[in-house]
Structure formats: C-alpha cells, structure tokens
C-alpha cells in the first residue's frame, strides 16, 4: 500500500495547473482531484505517475454548482456530497440525486469529484450514465483556450477519454432539465459499483413520449446511449408494455458486454433491461407529476 515515488505539485491557480500540464515534458503526469480512484490505484502500484499535480486547492474556482431553468454548470471539483446537498440539483436533475445517493459511501462522496468521475473513464462509474442521459458536455481547458465536447464524444472506452495530455477537465455543462428522470442501479457486491446502472430521461407531450434518453453504465467499455430503446419510445404512449418493449432493446446497443467474475455479459445486459424498465417507469411517473 505504498505508492511508488512521485513528485508532487500543488497548483495555486487554474492557469498554473494548465501551465504545468502544457510545459511538462513528463508524459506520466497525473492530475489529482478528489483522489478516490487515483490514490487506490497508486497504492496498488497500478498507477505510477512521475508527477502528481494536485488541483485540490482550486475548489474556489472549480467547485461551483450552478443550476437554473436554462441548464446547469458544475465545476470539475464539485464533490458528490456538494451535488447531493444542492437543492437546485435535487429539483431539476433528480436522476443525479438518485445516483449520488447510491454512489459509494459518505467518505468517498465527501472527497470524490464530478470532474474526476468523468476524466477517469471508469466503465462502471455511476455518474456517466446520468450525465449522458442529461446530455452533458465536458468543458476542457488548456493553456491556450478551451473547448467543450459532448460527453458522448469524450468517452472513448474503458479508462480512455478524449482528454489531451495538456488539458484539464474544468467543468460539466448540462442543458435544460427534462421533466421525468430516474436512475436505477444494481450493485457489484464488493465494490458497490454498478454491475449495471441505467438513467432514463423522458418528456411527455399530449400523452405521448416526445423525447426519451436512456444511458447505461457498467455494461460496456464505456457508458452508452441505448439508441434503439430510445427510438422505440418516441411518439408512443408510455404504457407498461411499451416501456417493457423498449427495455428489451437495451442489448441492441451493447454488442460486446463486459464480463468478469461478478457477472457474465448476458446477465449484465439482462440487468440493464430490468433496470431500464424500472427507470423508465419512474421517469414517466415523475414526468406525469411534473406536467400536471
């Protein structure tokens, strides 16, 4: 449990952090935010960065949570706990709150950050499913300028993202909230990460589904949108049979599901279908309440 030696830098400003990232010739530099994934990997020597750039001191500039009718901006260093206790998040993005409630434990929620969750690219993290379903974009900064990338384009594969070596995730940006949202999770019993996690976001108009977004985590190399299931819902009345039929299509978008000692690929897909149906039911019920 002793990490290999590394040098440690603590950034005093975002500009300084970006400077370090752009000027470093060291390609084994790692950014330390909440440390809830990186530090355990370092202790097991699965990660052996030469330089650790600690941005934990930048919370005043990167920790803000701002939610309005028009959307939301989450600073990369917003912790799970701060998001969980934010009334705006609870009001407009209840699927986030669903997920944060079942994410890890109080200690991890106190330190883990949303930027870290996205940058780490863990295929079994909870939040990527929620953020994908909520149509989030990732805000990336480098010393010369910044860019915004749709999360769907940012996530590449297991622990692989579009983050360049000289870039820093500075925040997440969400569009206006849709009425019906829910997140459902089935835990891996040891890590408590999802064997499957599904977020459903549904809006209803004139009694039919006007828009549906379903995203799944834990089942494939990265969180993904269940496009076939989504398409099957659009324009339909949200009857039980319709929701069940949509949920049965989850596997269409997971051709090569993950398999390990905790669950086979087919079982993961099965769980994702079950959870999709449950999430859709709750999302529809919340949407119905919201539209009254």
């Amino acid at each position: 449990m002793y990490p290999a030696s590394f040098s440690y830098l603590r950034a005093a400003s975002v500009a300084e952090a970006l400077d370090v990232l752009s000027s470093s010739s060291d390609d084994d530099i790692k950014v330390l935010a909440g440390g809830q994934s990186l530090l355990p990997m370092m202790k097991l020597r699965l990660a052996t960065p030469g330089v650790l750039l600690d941005i934990g001191g930048l919370r005043p500039s990167l920790g803000a949570v701002s939610v309005s009718a028009g959307g939301a901006e989450f600073g990369a260093l917003a912790t799970y706990r701060s998001l969980l206790s934010d009334p705006g998040v609870a009001l407009r993005y209840p699927a986030m709150t669903d997920a944060l409630r079942v994410l890890a434990d109080p200690q991890v929620r106190a330190r883990g950050t949303i930027g870290g969750a996205v940058a780490h690219g863990d295929p079994a993290a909870d939040l990527p499913a929620v953020l994908l379903a909520l149509d989030a974009s990732v805000v990336l900064a480098r010393s010369r300028g910044s860019r915004t990338v749709a999360l769907d384009d940012f996530l590449l594969g297991a622990f692989e993202t579009d983050l360049a070596e000289d870039e820093l995730v500075t925040g997440l940006s969400l569009g206006p909230a849709l009425a019906g949202q829910a997140y459902e999770k089935f835990e891996q019993p040891a890590s408590h990460l999802p064997l499957a996690g599904v977020c459903a976001v549904v809006s209803l108009a004139d009694g039919v589904v006007s828009r549906a977004r379903i995203a799944v985590t834990g089942v494939a190399g990265r969180a993904f949108r269940a496009l076939a299931a989504e398409a099957s819902l659009t324009g339909q009345e949200p009857a039980s049979a319709v929701l069940a039929a949509a949920a049965a299509l989850i596997g269409e978008d997971a051709p090569r599901p993950l398999a390990d000692i905790h669950a086979s690929g087919p079982f993961r897909v099965h769980l994702a279908s079950v959870l999709s149906e449950r999430a859709l039911r709750r999302a529809v019920s919340r949407a119905s309440v919201g539209s009254q």
Binding site: S5, L44, A190, F267
Partner: protein, 723 residues
C-alpha cells in the same frame, strides 16, 4: 454472572486507542516487504537480489540461503516433505501465487517496497491446478513430487452403512460445495521483532496463540523459552487465521536477528488475500439413507478437501477430526461411511476459519436433511424432530467417536417453531401473490473448549488494596476477555466488577495457555479462572476470623494463586436457526427477511457477549451463503485479491437477528459453560441456502452451490423456465 454488562474493552478500541502491532515503534526500527511469487506453480530459474541490496535505504535482502539455520515451521506429525519453507532460492519450486520468495528490509516501508521491485526473479511457469478434485485426478500437475497431490485419504466408517442403504425406503444424494473463503480480519497480520540484550527475542505479533508462538520460536531458533517474550497486544480479529505461525512472520524475526535491529512487517490488505490462510474448500458428494417414516439411518460418500499448496498444522484435522465425525449433527444416525481426501492444490494454504470443519459438516448434513424432507414429503422441521438424539441419551456417544456432553435439541427447535410457523404463513401469502418466498432451517451442534495439550492456566492476584488481577493463558482478540473473565472473577470472589483487571496476550504477564480458538476461552480459560479464584478464597481463609477478601489480602500482604483448567472433554453447544428469504425473480437477488437464532451454550456468563458472537458469526455465515468466494483463473491467478472484488457483507446486507437462548449446562466443566463463538457461522449458512432453495421450489430447483449470487439464482430460474 448472567448479567448483560456492556463490554468494557470497546470504548478504547472504538476511539482509536487500541494498541496493535502497527501502533508500536522501536528505536532504530526497520521495515520489511515480502516479495511473493506471482505465479501459481513454477520453478525459480534465476534469482538476483544484488540490485535490490544496493538500493537506497536497504538494510538487507534475504533469501532461503540466509535462513538455513532456522528450524522448520511447526508441521504435521507423520507428514514429511510438506514443510513450508520460509523463503526461496534459485532452483526451488513455488506452489501458489503469493508464496514468500524474498524478504527486503529497509529503513522505511516505502523504500522496502521500492527495493522489492528491484529483486529479479525468473520463473519457469508450470501448469497449475486449484480444484481439489482436478488435482486428485491422474495427469494433474504434481506440486510436491512423489505419488501425486493426494495428501491423505482416509475412510471413516461406523455401523452398517451398506445394510442401512439396502433397507432404505429413500435415498437422497447431492454434490455440495463449501467454497473457499477468506477470513478477512479487520487488522491484517503483522509482526515486530527485536533482539534483546541477552540475545533473546521480544516479538509483537498479531496472533491468537502467544504462548504457542513462543514455544514454536524457541524450537525454530534454538532459544530457551525464557529468553523469548511474545506479546499479542490488541488483535483486530483472527477467526482462526491468526492461529498458525507463518513463514513470512518467521523470516521477519530471523531478519531482525541477522541485522541486530528491530524489524516490523505489516501485511497489506491485498497481500492478506494471498498469504493468510483461507477456509473451507470442500466438495462433498454425499448420500443419506432414509426410512419411510423419515429417519436418516446412514450417510455415505466422499469429501474432497482442497488444502492449498502446503499442509498447515490444522488443515487435516479440520477434515478428519471435525468435519467427518460431525456429519451426524443433532441426529441419531447409526451408520456412516465417508471417504476423506485431502488434496494439495496451487492455492493459498487452507487453515482454520470460524468453525473449521463444523460449518461444513452442518451445511452438508442440513442440506441432506432438507432433501430427505422433500423426498419423504415431511415438513423439514418434522423430519428433523424425528431424527433428534433424545434428551435423555446424554452424554451421547456418536458412532463417529465423539461424546456430546449434553443437549436438548427438541427444545431449541420448539423455541424456533412459532417464528417458523409465522414465516410459513408469510410464505404462503407471498407465494399466492406470485412472489418467490422461502423458509429455511438448520439444527446444529458446535464442539468447543478444545484442549490441544497441557491445560491452560489462570493466575488470580488480590493486592493489599483489594484490587484483583486475573491473568489468563487464553488470548482474546475481540471476544471480550476483560468483560467475561472480569465478570466471572468478580462473581466468584464477591468483589466489584470494576475492581478486576484482566491480563492476557503477553507471555511475560500471563500464565501459560494455548490462546483463543475453537470456542475454547470461556470453557478452558474460564475453568482456570474459577479454580484460581477458589484457590485465592481458600488462601484467604487462612486468616483467623472471617473477613472481606480485601481485608484478608491486606493482612496477608496480597494473595495470589495460579491454577490449571480442569475440563472433562469438549462441550457441544447447539441451536436451531430459521430464516426467511425473498428472491427477486427478475434479477435473482436474494433478500433475507427474518432470522431467528436459538442458541443453547449452557450457562451464560454475559448474554450481551453471546449475542455479539452470534451477530458477528451470522455476518460471516451470510457472507459465505450469499457473497463470498475466493476464485482463481485457470493459471491459478487469484481473481479476488482485494475488497473491490471479494465481497464482504456490509451492515445493510446482514439481517437483524432475533435471538433466543436456552441453557442446558455442560457436565464437562464446573461452570457448566459451552463454547459458542462459531455457532452463527454454523447455523446461518445452511438456513439461508435451505431457504433460497425452498423459494425456488416452484421451479424444481433441488440444490444450488454457494455463494448464491444473483446470476446463479437467476440462471437456475431461467434454465427451468426455458426447459
């Protein structure tokens, strides 16, 4: 006696004021790191420690060549060639992933870990085998040479099993696995060794058996016991796995002697999954002969026990002296014919783990009992009732050579019955609405109070101020020695509980004893405390006039007495556990509803501590039933070497236990007490599995192997639905 005093030891432990091995530092102390084999089976083709020796901060890098003067680890009498060596040199074989190869000692733990990466070992990998049955088959990779991997093959027979089967109206047969699990104590193993001025040893070690460690070290290092002090201090759980002495610990002690400086080693969590003994790993193919009216007359079959890569001192007796003779459990079964095969495999050695043969026996027999109930159409409770040993048959000699001291098995079942009937009514309602509900039961015995050699002692001292010190040779590591023995001594001596201090776990301060394992402390340690207290009271009577003990002690300049335990054989606690479960048909997830635990462990000194033992053991038993399994891939690589992959149950996954207690005193000791620290792991595991199988009866499921993971349960349902 019998009062539910809260544990006096907990405040300090919960507030972080415990003192474990890692809390102790010695001046000039060095830190060790163990380089372990990454391959499950192979030959060390090359070993070069020169770069590591030159690394910053390194004080020494040790191989087997440096340990030649150290004697063999305590082994098993009559089994040659299986001694576990401390370390390795080029040319040696390695037999499990995690076997110690080289020890690196440096000025900090981090520099030792860094230097360990510079140790160069070339392995020629050999095919590996981790399943006992596969390892016993011809053509399997052979670990130790000779005639193969079968370490022992014995047959336990009693009565006319063949006749019983020929006459049986029914036969039920099932292959059942009590899977390999890891004990996972909160505090991993650790040791801190220091050479004393007189050439002796001062050893702090996380152990259940400090006096036995002193004896073993005396033999291994050729030092008189008087020159060795072994201190356990606070020990954060052991569950049996801190009973043995391990090669890595002895190598650290040897390194301290070679370097002349204190050396500390603390096992890492992931390392613990590889290097600390595992439990269970038995596959049974057993058959029961059952009469038309539901009496089980015989059990026969074969049990394959995976031993891991070496035979640890207790591994054979777990199978031969516990599991097999206990197959009769609470029942008057007349005949038994069981073949017991112990097989070496390329896996972490197996050792005692909470129950050590007892849970396996109860699991196999109680699964068979449910199958017999199914076959005969009897309710599982009724089938058990028909087979119980009668209350007037005690002391009862089992056909397998055990003497059950006392028991009233019907009484525990009767106590559970109202809850059982409630659960059956709940089940009927749940089933009628399409839910998968099940009820399961387990009746069991738990032998405790083992005496492995000369009796344990206790020393009771009353000082001039009337304060009492009780020093015992059993060695608590969570059991609550301070509270139990304090309460016991206060009761016998007639002094306030607050005036009694209990000392143990230090060979200099406590009298001889074998430590704490096998549910022995209250039986053996308690008996010694009783006798020492009686001796003190007798001595106090030497004063002319009757007077309070404190006054007599003041007049006599203090009173002290040491006495040995006086016990007449082992005790057999028993119980009946009943639980209800509900299975989610679409995900296969099992949820335990109610759990009723009826325990009879004879006279109870502190009911709160008995409850605590039940709760902790229930957590571990539920863990085996639903979650835990040590797994290897086909190359013998461990797949569950961290808490991210090895699922320990959390508080949310452990049911609330409804505890009931009966008290049938043991005639085997003066206190009438029985050991019961393992009852929960024995009782709850079969109850949960029986309940899940019962829940799945609508699908025709007869048996499922543990752990009952959602996918396994879901697959069983859907295979049946698809068929």
């Amino acid at each position: 006696m019998g009062v539910a005093l809260p544990r006096v030891e907990d405040a300090a432990l919960l507030a972080g004021r415990g003192r474990y091995v890692d809390d102790v530092a010695e001046p000039g102390m060095l830190h060790a790191f163990v380089v372990r084999s990454p391959v499950a089976h192979g030959t060390v083709a090359g070993l070069d420690v020169s770069v590591a020796r030159a690394a910053p901060g390194v004080a020494g890098v040790f191989t087997a060549d440096d340990m030649r003067d150290v004697g063999a680890l305590p082994g098993v009498r009559g089994v040659d060639g299986l001694e576990l060596p401390l370390l390795r040199v080029a040319g040696d074989k390695v037999r499990w992933a995690g076997e110690p190869v080289v020890l690196v000692v440096a000025d900090t733990a981090a520099s030792a870990a860094d230097a360990a990466e510079l140790v160069e070992v070339d392995y020629e990998t050999l095919p590996a085998v981790t399943s006992a049955e596969a390892a016993a088959a011809s053509g399997a990779p052979v670990l130790h040479g000779g005639s193969g991997n079968v370490c022992f093959r014995e047959r336990l027979t009693s009565g006319d099993a063949a006749g019983a089967f020929a006459a049986a109206a029914h036969r039920v047969r099932q292959r059942m696995v009590s899977q390999r699990v890891a004990p996972v104590a909160l505090e991993p193993r650790g040791v801190l060794a220091r050479v004393t001025g007189g050439g002796g040893l001062d050893v702090r070690i996380s152990t259940q058996r400090p006096h036995d460690v002193r004896r073993w070290l005396s033999r291994m290092f050729g030092l008189p016991e008087a020159l060795i002090r072994v201190v356990a201090g606070d020990v954060g759980g052991g569950f049996g796995a801190k009973g043995p002495l391990y090669p890595d610990q002895v190598a650290v002690i040897a390194a301290a002697r070679l370097l002349g400086r204190p050396v500390k080693w603390i096992e890492e969590r992931s390392e613990s999954f590889l290097a600390t003994t595992h439990g269970r790993d038995q596959t049974a193919d057993l058959e029961a002969a059952v009469t038309a009216d539901g009496r089980i007359t015989a059990i026969r079959g074969i049990v394959h026990a995976g031993l891991g890569a070496y035979l640890t001192p207790n591994a054979a007796s777990i199978v031969l002296r516990r599991l097999a003779p206990l197959l009769g459990q609470c029942y008057a079964i007349e005949a038994i014919d069981v073949e017991l095969v112990g097989v070496l495999t390329n896996a972490t050695p197996v050792g005692p783990y909470r129950g050590a043969g007892r849970p396996e026996a109860a699991y196999f027999t109680e699964r068979l009992a449910d199958l017999a109930a199914l076959e005969t159409g009897l309710d599982p409770a009724e089938l058990r009732r028909r087979n119980f040993i009668a209350p007037d048959a005690f002391p009862y000699q089992t056909p397998t050579g055990l003497t059950y001291d006392s028991g009233d098995y019907r009484a525990t079942l009767d106590t559970a019955m109202s809850g059982y009937r409630e659960m059956r009514r709940w089940q009927a309602v749940a089933r009628s609405s399409g839910r998968l509900a099940g009820v399961g039961m387990c009746c069991f015995v738990e032998p405790g109070g083992i005496l492995p050699g000369e009796p344990d002692q206790a020393t009771v001292t009353v000082d001039g101020s009337g304060k009492v010190t009780v020093a015992v040779g059993t060695s608590g590591h969570g059991q609550g020695h301070q509270t139990t023995f304090g309460q016991l001594a206060a009761g016998i001596l007639g002094v306030p509980f607050a005036d009694v201090t209990v000392v143990f776990g230090d060979t200099e301060l406590a009298p001889f004893g074998h430590g704490t394992f096998g549910s022995r402390s209250t039986v053996v340690g308690g008996s010694a405390v009783l006798r020492a207290c009686e001796a003190v009271l007798a001595a106090a009577r030497r004063v002319d006039a009757p007077m309070p003990l404190a006054e007599a002690a003041r007049l006599l300049g203090g009173l002290t007495a040491t006495a040995s335990a006086d016990v007449d054989g082992e005790t057999y606690a028993f119980g009946c556990y009943v639980c209800s479960v509900e299975v989610d048909q679409v995900t296969g997830r099992v949820r335990i509803g109610r759990l009723i635990a009826v325990d009879d462990c004879g006279v109870v000194i502190n009911p709160l501590l008995v409850d605590g033992q039940v709760h902790g053991a229930v957590a571990q038993g539920v863990g085996q039933a639903l979650f835990e399994q040590v797994r290897y891939d086909e190359d013998g690589q461990p797949l569950t070497a961290s808490l991210m992959d090895y699922p320990m149950p959390s508080a949310a996954q452990v049911p609330v236990t409804e505890s009931y207690r009966l008290e049938t005193p043991s005639p085997a000791n003066q206190l009438g007490v029985k050991g019961m620290g393992e009852s929960g792991t024995i009782g709850v595991t079969p109850a949960v599995v029986n309940a899940v199988v019962d829940a799945l009866r609508p699908f025709g499921v007869r048996h499922l192997d543990m752990p009952l993971t959602p996918e396994k349960v879901w697959t069983a349902i859907h295979e049946e639905l698809g068929a």
